[in-house]
C-alpha cells in the first residue's frame, strides 16, 4: 500500500494516523504557548522574523508601479511590496533612509513617478533607489547609492508572494514537497476575488488550530455542512489523507456519499456545468482529494475545493498582534468567471464560507478565554486532530533552537 498519500482506509478504522506517524505521540499538548506573553515575545524572533511569510498575490500588483504595504506587527515591520519597471516584484522595509519615517502611507496603490516621503520629500524610484534629496549639497558625504530602501527577501511561488526578514534557505527549498505536489495547474489564472480581515481576541495558534481540523464540522457547522465530508459508521469525520512535508502539513477530506446539495447549490451546479461545456477543466489544481487543507508554517493555510467546472482556493493568514490578539485575513482566489452562472456560484461559495468562518470565529475567542482561565493545562487531541499535534511540535522545534529546526 502507498505509504504517503491517497490510500483510503475502511471507514470503521480509528487511530489510523497515530499508527502511521508514531513519532508525533498521542499525549496531551501544552496550553502554555497560547497564553504566555514571554513565549509570544520569543515567537517574534524565533518564528516570524526568520520564516517565509505570505503577504499577497501577484494578481494584486499586475503592473509596474503597483504596490501594497503589509503591516507585520509581530515583526514590528511595515513591508512595501512593489512591481518595478522591469516587471520584478521587490520588497522593502517601508522606512525612509533619512530619519526612518514611514515612506508609503497608503495600504495599496500605484506609484507613477517616485515614492516620496511626506516628511522631507526624499524620493525613491520603484526599484528602491534613492533618487532625490532636497538640499542635497547641505548633507555631508552623501552617496545616494548607499541609501536606497532596505530590501527584504521576496520570492514568488505559484503567484503567491512571500517575504522573509532573515532567510536561512530559499522559498522553494523551504516549501519542499508542498511545492512539488502543488506544481502546475491553474495557479497562473488565479486572481484575488475578495479579501477581509477579522480582528480576534485569540492567540494566532488558537485560530490556526480551529481551522487545522475537520472533526468540528459535523457539530459546529451542523446547519451548514451536516453531511459534507466522509465519516465512519458512527457519523464521525474520517480524513482521507494526512501528509507531512517537514514543517508543513496537509489533510484532506472526501465527499460523503450521502451528501446532497441544497436546491440552490444543485441549480447553480447544473447551470455551471451547462455553461462551461468543453472548458470545464480549464481551471484546475493538482488535487488528489475534493477538499485539501495545507498549512504552510508558520501562519498560512491554503485550502482547495473541487468545483463542478473549476477549482477554488481560499487562503487564511493569521497575523499575531499580541499573545491574545490576531488578525485573521481571509482571501478568496478564483479564476475569472466565464459566464453568469460561474459569477453567481463564486459569490455563493464566498457567502457560504463567510458564514462558516463566522461560526469558526465564535470558538476562537471562547477557547482563548478558556485557556487563559488556567482551568486546563493541556489540549486533548484525537487521531483526526493529528495535524494540530504536528503544528505544535513544529512550533516547539522552532522555539527550542536558534537554527531552523527540522522535525522528522
Amino acid at each position: 500500500m502507498d505509504t504517503e498519500s491517497g490510500d483510503h482506509h475502511p471507514n470503521h478504522n480509528y487511530k489510523r494516523w497515530a499508527a502511521r506517524y508514531p513519532e508525533l505521540g498521542t499525549g496531551p499538548v501544552a496550553v502554555e504557548p497560547c497564553i504566555s506573553p514571554s513565549f509570544f515575545e520569543l515567537e517574534r524572533d524565533r518564528i516570524f522574523r526568520r520564516s517565509w511569510l505570505s503577504v499577497g498575490n501577484e494578481s494584486e500588483i499586475p503592473d509596474a508601479g503597483d504596490y501594497f504595504v503589509k503591516e507585520i506587527a509581530v515583526c514590528k515591520a511595515s513591508i512595501l511590496v512593489i512591481r518595478g519597471h522591469d516587471g520584478v516584484v521587490r520588497a522593502f522595509h517601508n522606512v525612509c533612509s533619512h530619519r526612518s519615517n514611514t515612506l508609503v502611507a497608503n495600504p495599496r496603490g500605484k506609484c507613477r513617478g517616485y515614492l516620496t516621503c511626506n516628511f522631507h520629500s526624499w524620493g525613491y524610484d520603484i526599484a528602491g533607489n534613492l533618487r532625490s534629496v532636497p538640499d542635497e549639497r547641505n548633507f555631508f558625504d552623501l552617496d545616494k547609492r548607499a541609501h536606497g530602501l532596505t530590501p527584504v527577501a521576496a520570492e514568488i511561488w505559484n503567484g503567491f508572494i512571500f517575504i522573509n526578514l532573515d532567510p536561512r534557505e530559499d522559498l522553494r527549498t523551504n516549501l519542499g514537497g508542498v511545492a512539488e505536489r502543488l506544481h502546475g495547474g491553474g495557479f497562473d489564472q488565479l486572481r484575488l476575488a475578495r479579501r477581509y480581515t477579522i480582528d480576534e481576541r485569540a492567540n494566532w495558534k488558537v485560530a490556526i488550530d480551529a481551522q487545522n481540523e475537520s472533526y468540528h464540522v459535523v457539530y459546529q457547522h451542523r446547519y451548514l455542512m451536516p453531511n459534507l465530508f466522509t465519516t465512519d459508521d458512527r457519523g464521525c469525520l474520517r480524513l482521507s489523507e494526512v501528509t507531512f512535508y517537514d514543517r508543513h502539513s496537509m489533510y484532506a477530506c472526501d465527499i460523503n456519499p450521502s451528501f446532497r446539495p441544497s436546491p440552490l447549490e444543485s441549480a447553480l451546479m447544473q447551470l455551471e456545468v451547462a455553461g462551461a461545456g468543453a472548458q470545464r477543466d480549464q481551471y484546475r489544481f493538482p488535487m488528489r482529494n475534493p477538499f485539501e487543507f495545507f498549512l504552510i508554517f508558520p501562519n498560512l493555510a491554503m485550502i482547495f475545493f473541487r468545483g463542478p467546472t473549476s477549482d477554488a482556493c481560499i487562503t487564511h493568514s493569521f497575523w499575531p498582534i499580541a499573545v491574545d490578539r490576531t488578525l485573521w485575513e481571509v482571501r478568496f482566489y478564483t479564476a475569472p468567471p466565464r459566464n453568469a452562472a460561474e459569477r453567481i456560484s463564486q459569490d455563493f461559495m464566498q457567502v457560504f464560507n463567510r458564514v462558516v468562518f463566522d461560526e469558526d470565529a465564535s470558538a476562537h475567542e471562547t477557547v482563548q478565554a478558556g485557556l487563559e482561565s488556567g482551568a486546563k493545562k493541556h489540549l486533548i487531541l484525537q487521531d483526526e486532530e493529528v495535524t494540530i499535534r504536528h503544528f505544535h511540535r513544529i512550533v516547539q522545534d522552532a522555539m527550542g533552537s536558534t537554527e531552523n529546526a527540522v522535525s522528522e
Partner: protein
Amino acid sequence: MQSVSSAKSVISPLGPFGDLEPFIRWDLATEPERMAARESSTLEEMRTFYDATILRLPAIVQYLNGFPSDRMPPEAQRLMNMALSLNEVSIAVERYRQPRVINGRERDRFFPARSSGDN
C-alpha cells in the same frame, strides 16, 4: 414599483423579469447590504423571494450571459444583484430556517474589519 399592464409597453426595471418586481428591494449592490437585508427580513419574506427567484434562475442566467459582465444594462445589473441576494437568503431559508446565523459571533463584531470585492 408597479409595472403597468396596458396597450403601451412599459419597460420593467427587471427587463423580461417583470414577475420578480415585487422583490426588487433585493436589488442590493454590495454584500454588507445583502447581509443586513437578510438579518432584518422575516423568514417568510425571504422564503417568498427565494421560491420565486430560484425558479427563474436558469432564465436569469441565460439572460445575463447575453451581456459582457463589465457593461451590463441597468436591468441586467439589478437581476445580477438579486441573484446574489438569492445566495444570501439561501443561508437563512435552506440552512438556519431563521434570519440570523445561529452559531456565529455578534454581527457587529464579526463583520469583517476590511472587506473588498463587492463587484
